[in-house]
């Protein structure tokens, strides 16, 4: 599989993401934000974490207008798989490739820690190796992870099986680190080819990192 990882000024997880997929024996290419095409053989585009454009104005607001994001939109509209991690998730929200918006964490703290996540829906490419209801241990690190969406659209997310991951404790009970509505940590679009989550699966690829649970998430994309 060929993975294309985007790089904006301020991105800082592109090499971790490359490492994660190379560990899964996949080919990875890092593409600069000024490129206006996605490499032709791309099977998955990853919008990685970091602080694109310094997160000025709002997280992801400026990155949305990079030439490469136009190409990503065309790629996604064509059915291509896109994964946004942390700042990548914020960029996908600002780009309207995913619904809703991100606010500052409710406690105003930058949270950086290991966090358990509950699999809410595994009927999708991303989480197909996971079981609904099981928990995974994946690190989080963000100041703006307080996901918000209005009631009507929230209902639509549930109806379509688009709520994928929620924050929980080790036993699967709700444990919300940022005030996110309904404890939501990750969602997908209606057609289930665009995914976004605040936690960092690429930082949980081997036990020495504290968890290898990220492997099962990322390998879902591998055929």
């Amino acid at each position: 599989m060929n993975v294309t990882v985007l790089q904006f000024p301020g991105t800082n997880c592109e090499y971790d993401t490359r490492y994660a997929f190379e560990r899964l024996d996949q080919e990875v290419k890092i593409v600069w934000h000024e490129e206006d095409v996605i490499p032709a053989n791309t099977d998955l585009v990853v919008v990685p974490g970091g602080f694109s454009y310094g997160d000025y104005l709002r997280s992801g607001a400026i990155a949305r207008f990079s030439p490469v994001m136009k190409a990503v939109k065309a790629y996604a509209d064509n059915g291509g798989y896109v994964l946004g991690i942390c700042n990548g998730f914020q960029i996908l929200l600002e780009s309207h490739l995913l619904p809703g918006a991100m606010k500052r964490n409710e406690n105003l703290h930058f949270v950086s820690k290991h966090q358990y996540l509950k699999i809410e829906n595994s009927d999708n490419r991303f989480l197909r190796h996971c079981r609904e209801g099981e928990t995974l241990n994946i690190p989080i690190a963000h100041a703006e992870g307080n996901y918000y969406i209005d009631e009507e659209r929230l209902k639509r997310l549930y109806d379509n099986g688009q709520v994928l991951l929620t924050y929980c404790d080790e036993n699967g009970n709700p444990d919300n680190p940022n005030g996110s509505i309904d404890n939501i940590a990750g969602i997908c679009n209606e057609t289930k080819n665009v995914f976004g989550l605040m936690p960092h699966p690429e930082r949980a690829m081997e036990p020495i990192l504290g968890s290898a649970d990220g492997v099962r998430m990322l390998e879902g994309f591998i055929l």
Binding site: F65, R104, L108, G179
Partner: protein, 80 residues
Amino acid sequence: MKAIVNVYLKEGVLDPQGKAVHHALGSLGFGNVSDVRVGKQIVLDLEADSMHDAQKEVEKMCETLLANTVIEDYSIEIVQ
């Protein structure tokens, strides 16, 4: 021409920064404050033929980039 844009979270969308400031004011003895909203102000110098044109142009900027209308409202003041 100068445009002053104020961006705030919509009514009904919890404002964590406003809440923190409200709490701090209460701790300092300012108990008469019932609510605080924290927004941002963006000041633009721009060229336009009229205040009306400037208003329209800045509205477009707000809808495109300056505000995230999913969660934020904005107000625009054009000053000569």
